[in-house]
């Protein structure tokens, strides 16, 4: 596998021009700032000049002294102060303003990404600057075994397939996987003709009993002393929020030690795009058609991850493939939590076929859904309460998101206003729940013999004892 690199990303729409990044850079580097925010075409629009750490760096190509070179490990274009003769030709090579004269020392200065911990990003109060670590993820996991066979029959651009392959690549072979009816088994992961499409033990429960079956499997492994198996589901939103909900809720309430991943494509896409409990208001589906009288779904979606947080699961989080580093971190925490209690990961997954999104725009849809607060990225543990992993402040209007999704094409202004109001309400509620006030006190350890969700425990050691007792 070739190397990929982490990058500093800039979202101009979030930048308010405060200049904190430049101050932070300047003080970290004890000189002129190596990035510059400049006023844009209109008021409140800002632009950025920064080194892009190019793959074919022209600054290095025109350097007569060999002072500039791309580091094969980090991807950073490094500057060798001893070799540099201060001829400034590099500034003629760069079309980004990424390497410029620091007037204080009369030498060039350029971004070195602060050894992977950029000061500018840390200082950015709006999230306009982000340090994107997808490169590290690729380097770490790109060479690992893909635990699904090639040739699964997902639709072109299927985001759920992306989620499956990333998830299992990360979790590895020590796992037992349930894939209840939906796109995930539908595209062939449970196999055909006696052959499986998955390289770990996989089974196909009913829509209604996924979590119950996993609970039993976990008990079995506990009994035979295998504490290292990840017992998990890759389920759709229908099998989780609707007909499978009682089993999910029950397993969460019992604190069964399983990892339940809900791949939420907002409907029963595998069977022809019927509406589900997580289908958002206004969506076109085959059962909420758009015509003279009906204009898509008339009810709001239920917020399943919030419902699961109310179960006081050991871990609850939402994630999106538009934010891979966030997804990978949450997978780590969810897997760990699944050995101690119920771990629930809700991954939003735009469906190119069912949502009428061009397959090339799926990841963009992921990002826009988050940037507009249509979905929010957060995590919950009983100890910390709800915590946003991406700030919901400075969001784009939800119209920016829905306009790229075909299933909302018919929306009237009233409907759009309703969606915006629901989004605002949801975020406001989450903000209250995530406020700086201390998390609600965890339940005291109950008297011996009584039962409480494992997530309510305060002491991990006592919990481990409980696990071993099982």
């Amino acid at each position: 596998m070739g190397a990929a690199f982490d990058t500093i990303a800039f979202k101009g729409s979030l930048c308010d021009g405060c200049g904190d990044c430049m101050t932070a850079c300047s003080s970290a580097k004890k000189g002129a700032s190596r990035l510059s925010i400049v006023p844009g075409a209109s008021e409140k629009v800002f632009e950025l000049a920064i080194c892009r750490q190019c793959g074919d760096p022209k600054c290095a190509m025109v350097c007569p002294s060999g002072a500039l070179a791309k580091d094969g490990g980090s991807g950073v274009i490094g500057w060798d102060a001893d070799k540099c003769i201060d001829c400034l030709l590099c500034t003629a090579g760069c079309a980004y303003g990424g390497i410029a004269v620091d007037p204080g020392i009369s030498r060039v200065a350029k971004c070195d990404m602060c050894d992977g911990d950029p000061a500018c990003v840390k200082s950015c109060p709006t999230g306009a600057l982000e340090y994107r670590k997808a490169g590290s993820i690729y380097n770490e996991y790109g060479g690992k075994e893909d635990l699904f066979v090639p040739g699964l029959s997902g639709c072109l651009g299927c985001n759920s397939e992306l989620i499956m392959r990333h998830t299992m690549r990360k979790i590895g072979r020590n796992s037992v996987l349930a894939t209840p009816p939906g796109c995930i088994p539908g595209m062939g992961s449970v196999g055909y003709n006696g052959k499986t499409g998955t390289k770990v033990p996989v089974f196909h429960p009913l829509l209604t009993n996924t979590a119950s079956m996993l609970a039993g499997i976990r008990r079995h492994y506990d009994r035979i002393g295998r504490k290292d198996i990840v017992v998990m589901a890759l389920a759709g939103d229908g099998g989780t929020a609707d007909c499978g909900f009682h089993a999910v809720s029950g397993a969460a309430e019992r604190g069964d030690k399983i990892l339940y991943i809900c791949v939420d494509n907002e409907g029963y896409m595998n069977t022809g795009m019927q509406r589900s409990g997580t289908t958002p208001y206004g969506s076109w589906t085959s059962t909420t058609p758009v015509g003279e009288h009906m204009k898509g779904k008339t009810q709001d979606a239920k917020n399943l991850p919030m419902i699961m947080a109310a179960h006081k699961c050991r871990y609850v989080a939402t994630a999106s493939t538009g934010y891979m580093e966030d997804l990978y971190e949450k997978l780590d925490r969810a897997v760990e939590a699944s050995f101690e209690g119920f771990a629930y990961l809700h991954i939003y997954s735009p469906c190119p076929t069912g949502w009428r999104v061009p397959s090339s725009k799926v990841i963009e849809a992921c990002r826009m859904s988050v940037e507009s607060n249509f979905v929010t990225l957060w995590e919950y543990t009983p100890k910390t309460g709800i915590r946003f992993t991406r700030s919901p402040d400075n969001a784009l209007p939800v119209s920016a998101y829905v306009k790229m999704i075909g299933k909302y094409r018919h929306l009237s202004q009233d409907q759009l206003d309703h969606i915006q109001a629901k989004v605002d309400e949801q975020v406001a509620l989450l903000k209250v729940m995530a406020a700086d006030s201390p998390p609600p006190p965890a339940a005291h350890r109950p008297p011996a013999g009584s039962s409480t969700p494992a997530g309510g425990e305060t002491s991990q050691t006592s919990l481990r004892r409980e696990i071993s007792r099982n």
Binding site: E47, K58, P64, C87, L88, L89, G93, C94, A95, S106
Partner: protein, 416 residues
């Protein structure tokens, strides 16, 4: 007979970039790089810094042996090309060896142009184009007191500065009325000239050398100027420009004007032969006519295009034309220019002379040139605005008032 699918004659920026772009597309095709030099590749631009002592001769090499091994390219030093047989596809070297090629890159660069001054063959003089020249000049500096530099171009001025800083009495003779002609307008040049004068360098602008003659049994010489002045020199540096190294192409059928004529894909008129860098005469962005623009950025761009063409890379793009660029340091100060920075007449010029000096040249509300002294700017961004002919009508006031900030903004928008 040794042979290579890709034969690169020359080892500086153009050839190195061609190597890179060939390997980008064809990792396996056999390749060899021939150079007249004894050393691994280095840049002529580094030489003034070797003269000053800032760069150690051993530390100026742009590539190490491992690079050539990793890129599966035979590096052949001390290989002076003598002739080209384009029919037989062979390059004959001075040592009698011949190399057969499938595709050839002519990247032999340029050599100092020695003016036809009376007596020049009878005196000892220095030039500055190779590492030997640089180390030779450096050691001569140590035992000299009076230096005369012919030519106030980049090489001449760099060397004059080095020698003045080393304590020599330095005179520079230039036929034109200003230093760095072409790159800078009179006002910018005057700032540079004042710095040299202030550091004790005597500038003889608008002066022509008519003869030189040896003195002291050849240890020094007298430089006679047209107006009768005579300058004494125990160190004479000839820096009156360079000319492409094309003599080895005589009789090969390769079309040569001032340099090797190439099309927009850096192809010569002969099948299987490309040329790039200082040796090539490619189209000039401004005039659309073939011209010599011997600078690193054009060498790199031409080398890349040639390499892509040699490797049949379908993503090769036509050469947009060379734009002159000059980033010049003198006595710790900065002078920069790009494009038609000294143009006057049918263009709109905005000058700003307050602490720093800058000169912005617009034509039809598009940037065509930019020069500054003591006021650095993003040369690459301005070059891109020139190359893309970005319409500045809507931002003209801001651009003239705050060109760096506005340039950064415009390019940030362009890259979105």
């Amino acid at each position: 007979m040794p042979e290579a699918k890709y034969l690169l004659v020359g080892s500086s920026h153009a050839a190195l970039e061609a190597l890179r772009s060939i390997r980008h597309f064809d990792p396996d095709g056999s390749m060899a790089m021939l150079t007249r030099d004894v050393y691994r590749p280095y840049s002529p631009t580094i030489l003034p810094y070797v003269v000053s002592g800032r760069s150690k001769p051993a530390a100026v090499m742009l590539r190490d042996e491992a690079f050539f091994e990793a890129n599966n390219c035979a590096f052949v030093p001390e290989a002076v090309a003598q002739s080209l047989d384009a029919k037989a596809r062979t390059v004959r070297l001075e040592n009698g060896e011949s190399w057969r090629y499938e595709r050839l890159l002519i990247a032999t660069g340029a050599a100092p142009a020695i003016p036809p001054v009376k007596g020049i063959d009878d005196v000892r003089f220095h030039v500055l184009r190779s590492l030997e020249d640089a180390t030779g000049l450096r050691s001569a500096m140590g035992s000299s007191r009076h230096a005369v530099v012919l030519g106030a171009g980049l090489v001449g001025l760099h060397a004059a500065e080095n020698m003045a800083e080393a304590g020599l009495k330095v005179s520079v003779v230039e036929m034109q009325g200003h230093v760095l002609p072409g790159y800078f307008d009179a006002k910018a040049s005057e700032r540079i000239e004042a710095a040299f004068t202030g550091h004790g360098v005597k500038l003889y602008l608008n002066h022509k050398v008519v003869a030189v003659e040896p003195r002291d049994g050849g240890h020094s010489c007298a430089v006679h100027l047209e107006d009768g002045k005579v300058l004494q020199a125990d160190l004479l540096l000839v820096a009156t420009g360079v000319r492409p190294v094309t003599d080895w192409l005589n009789g090969s059928g390769i079309a040569v004007d001032k340099g090797v004529l190439v099309d927009e894909a850096m192809r010569t008129n002969v099948e299987g032969v490309w040329a790039a860098g200082d040796v090539a005469q490619a189209v000039d962005f401004h005039t659309g006519q073939p011209a010599l623009i011997g600078i690193i950025p054009t060498a790199v761009e031409q080398g890349r295009i040639a390499g892509q063409g040699m490797a049949d890379d379908p993503y090769v793009k036509a050469y947009p034309g060379g734009i002159p660029v000059n980033t010049y340091r003198f006595f710790g100060r900065v002078a920069l220019s790009i494009g038609q920075a000294a143009a006057s007449g049918d263009v709109e010029v905005s000058e700003h002379d307050d602490g720093g000096y800058r000169r912005v040249v617009l034509s039809d509300n598009r940037l065509v040139g930019y020069a500054s002294v003591d006021e650095p700017f993003d040369v690459g961004i301005m070059g891109e605005l020139i190359r893309r002919k970005v319409d500045l009508t809507a931002v003209k006031d801001a651009f003239i008032a705050r060109p760096v900030e506005t340039g950064r903004r415009l390019m940030s928008e362009q890259w979105r």
